[in-house]
Amino acid sequence: MVKLQINGKTVEAREGEMLLAVIKRQGIEVPTQCHHEAIEPTGNCRLCMVEITKKNWDGWKKSVTSCLYPVEEGLIVETHNDKLFEIRKTILDLQLARSPHSDYVRKMALDYGLEKSSYPVEPDGDDCIMCYACTRICEVLGKSAISPTQRGHQKVIAGPFGEAPPDCIGCLSCAHICPTDHIKWNDKGQTRTIWDKSFELIACSKCGKKTITREFADYLIEKRELPANYFEICDDCKRQETAEKIGSLVVRAREATI
């Protein structure tokens, strides 16, 4: 266990924990965008930055992203002050210029007193905030179908060579984890389209309701060792089947006692 100070209060933390987890445990709210429990932190948004110092640093302070900074004995942490406010405000100000139509960014910017950006706005806007949540979640599930491509302001999340990613299984994890709902997909009839790739949606063999993509089901069957027939029926019909199976057991038991 490690002892450190957060906003003047002494707290305990486990070795190897990141500062952000400890801060959240104290109920302190630090803004985050690219942080999510299911993925490794990358420190892209810089919003979770805190100021740290130590007794023997003679007042010298350092700003670090709390999502990536491991706890240390004797650390003195400040989560909110004028400098950090300025940093967070400027980050959101810059994001407002890039993504003026994003409700997610607008709402966070409003919390910092920004109704519009101080910088010239991209008229069409680009709702991608480059948090890398989508690429990281795809990596966790083992596919790494999409990744950041190109560089700098031209950077864009895409499949290899900007084409439909061959490894994508249409699970929509990326679309769901995207904080700005920037990743669009389309379910029409028996087809799902995302990242310019088309997938077959499994239709329940009993009622025809669409569940997940064939590729996603195949991936789960193979990688997670699940029986293939689990995926042929939708959850509504499975519950009905379960009721019928239990029901027939009840009937059989009743007949046996008679």
């Binding site: 994890s173 996603f216 699940l226 519950r239 379960t242 009721a243 029901g247 027939s248």
Partner: protein, 137 residues
């Protein structure tokens, strides 16, 4: 003290009080949640409450690629970790009993978590078809 959630299907009359209780337990902002328990007819006027079996080797836990479904050692239930869940619906597709569900109203994946050890359906079932009994050694 450890408990086991018990279903005695022969006693179910299909009154659907459990379903109501569950939906209201999970209501938020004036909207009911999706019920985690389903009394379904298997024959005319014959009902069975279908609810999560909290399987030992659960398909939902296997299917989840992000470790968002984990056994709660205290209640014995398999809980959804909402900080990890990305709503990919792998669990919904995998559960052979259809007990991992999509709550479209709150945009969440839901399943029975035994109300964290205090199941309301048990309290409200008039026929005592649902019980929460202590495990005696």
């Amino acid at each position: 003290m450890k408990y086991r959630y018990q279903v005695i299907p022969e006693l179910c009359t299909g009154c659907r009080t459990c379903e109501l209780a569950c939906a209201f337990k999970f209501a938020r902002d004036g909207k009911p949640g999706r019920s985690r328990i389903y009394p379904l007819a298997h024959a005319k006027d014959q009902y069975v409450p279908v609810v999560c079996f909290q399987c030992d080797d659960a398909a939902c836990v296997r299917a989840c690629m992000f470790d968002a479904l984990r056994r709660n050692e205290e209640t014995g239930a398999i809980d959804v970790d909402y900080e990890r869940c990305v709503r990919c619906e792998a669990c919904v597709a995998a559960c052979p009993f259809g007990c991992a569900l999509v709550d479209t109203g709150f945009d969440e994946i839901v399943k029975c978590d035994l109300c964290r050890g205090n199941p309301v359906c048990v309290k409200f079932c008039p026929e005592s078809a649902l019980r929460y009994v202590e495990i005696k050694d």
